[in-house]
């Protein structure tokens, strides 16, 4: 503040009233707090000057006064926070198909999965930075085709896509064994949901 002196009682009262107020206040309204004084407006102007260079400003808008944080501080009052989230099963499968078969169109992914792929599923994979559009397939309808990105390789610790285990490796690891009954039940639930157009499933939530 310009700080020539301590603020006088009127200035202090105005400060407190404006600070505690839930809405901008007119001189009329302020009068009800600080008393019927002629010099309220000039005191407000002096106060506004005090705060001019600070992180908080006193401003007048349409005859009503309020405190606000300085405009150049707005960026600081927002903070980005990263939240770890897991891919849903649909997301995981779609990503796997793109990785093993790239470039693939959505129709091809659906053919391999045996279920529809919600639009949101691919969007999430793109948001994660693992999948990118890789042009269009030169067939009728010219569908978009998708491929993985360098970030995909980085995230999964792969040098190249050739490092992905082959079908024989999967079989050896028991990953191609038919799913058991309980699993099938769960999968049925999954399929039903995917047919639903509104589904788009909350991709992020754990399926």
């Amino acid at each position: 503040m310009n700080g020539d002196s301590e603020p006088d009682d009127l200035a202090r009262a105005l400060e407190a009233a404006l600070f505690a107020a839930t809405e901008p206040m007119s001189v009329q309204q302020l009068r009800q707090y600080v008393g019927d004084r002629a010099d309220i407006t000039s005191a407000l102007e002096r106060l506004a000057g005090d705060y001019a260079g600070r992180g908080i400003n006193l401003v007048e808008r349409g005859g009503r006064w309020h405190f606000q944080t300085a405009a150049d501080m707005a960026h600081m009052l927002r903070r980005e926070k990263e939240e770890p989230r897991r891919l849903s099963r649909a997301g995981m499968e779609t990503l796997a198909i793109i990785a093993y078969h790239e470039p693939v169109s959505r129709a091809e992914i659906e053919a391999i999965r045996g279920v529809q792929v919600a639009k949101g599923t691919i969007d999430v994979l793109m948001e994660a930075g693992w999948v990118r559009p890789a042009g269009r397939r030169e067939v009728p309808g010219r569908p978009l085709i998708y491929a993985t990105t360098p970030e995909f390789l980085t995230h999964f610790g792969l040098e190249s896509r050739r490092d992905l285990p082959g079908l024989e490796d999967l079989r050896a690891a028991g990953l191609l064994d038919p799913v058991d009954l309980a699993m099938e039940g769960a999968m049925e639930g999954l399929f039903e949901r995917e047919d639903d157009d509104s589904a788009l499933e909350n991709m992020g939530e754990e399926a």
């Binding site: 505690a20 839930t22 990953l175």
Partner: protein
């Protein structure tokens, strides 16, 4: 007499003016609280109060309340009895005293009163501070600090590979194996009932022919098949059936004729 009036003042203090003699013990939080109020009415530093005088004050107070037929909570009466005991002990010749000494008991009471008094004062001083929302106020309309959340997607290579494995396992042309249903076939039941009934001579309940410890679908299947088997065996004349009434237990045994025939056959 002066003290007596003081006691009455205490009664009335928390009451609205005009409600004379509406005595209520609701104003006190138990006997210790009442004692502390009486002690404070001695108008000396709590450190200086006379316990003996306090005991007398309390007992007079209780007597007063009884005279007015006030309902007294039991703990006030327990305290009164204890204080009466304390008073007599304090007045007894020293030699007749027991452990713990009345002085010790009095001191204990005194220490308790001091502690309660200290906390009562502390509470009042806390309440008298400049309190947020009563005396001082925070900003009425803060802009708020924003936290923008950004999803950080996570998945492992195993998740990826396992997901692919699941897709392939689900969609590859699989050779389907029909799993065995949990049933007992009629043939099995015929064989089982026929064999078991031959080994028994007396009537036995149908259920006793089932394998032990069955339940669920297999249990129901076994019962149904055994029932049909029983009917079939009866049709062949190999068993007799008896039932006392509808829904009553069903008994069966080897048909007497058949048994004879079979035995004959064996002997032959």
């Amino acid at each position: 007499m002066a003290e007596r009036e003081e006691a009455f003042d205490l009664f009335e203090a928390p009451r609205a003016a005009g409600e004379v003699l509406t005595l209520s013990f609701e104003s006190w939080e138990g006997p210790l609280d009442l004692l502390l109020n009486l002690a404070r009415s001695q108008k000396v530093d709590l450190k200086q109060i006379s316990i003996l005088a306090l005991v007398e004050q309390y007992l007079r107070f209780i007597a007063e309340a009884k005279a007015l037929k006030l309902e007294l909570a039991a703990d006030y009466l327990v305290m009164a009895a204890w204080l009466a005991y304390l008073k007599s002990a304090l007045l007894l010749p020293r030699a007749m005293q027991e452990e713990p000494s009345p002085e010790e008991l009095a001191l204990r009471l005194h220490l308790r009163l001091q502690r309660l008094s200290a906390m009562r004062d502390a509470g009042a001083r806390l309440m008298a501070r400049d309190r947020l929302g009563r005396d001082v106020f925070v900003r009425g309309a803060p802009e708020g600090l924003r936290v923008d959340k950004r999803a950080l997607w996570q998945a492992s290579l195993y998740d990826l590979v396992a997901a692919y494995g699941q897709v392939k396992a689900r969609t590859q042309p699989a050779s389907h194996v029909v799993s065995r249903r949990p049933v007992m076939t009629l043939d099995a039941a015929l064989e089982r009932v026929g064999r078991l009934v031959g080994a028994r001579l007396d009537w036995a309940r149908l259920e006793s022919f089932l394998p032990e410890g069955l339940s669920g679908a297999f249990g129901r299947s076994a019962l149904a098949s055994s029932f049909v088997a029983m009917l079939e065996l009866a049709r062949q004349g190999r068993v007799d059936i008896k039932q006392e009434g509808i829904f009553a237990p069903i008994f069966l045994r080897t048909a007497m004729e058949a048994a004879t025939v079979e035995r004959d056959g064996v002997e032959a």
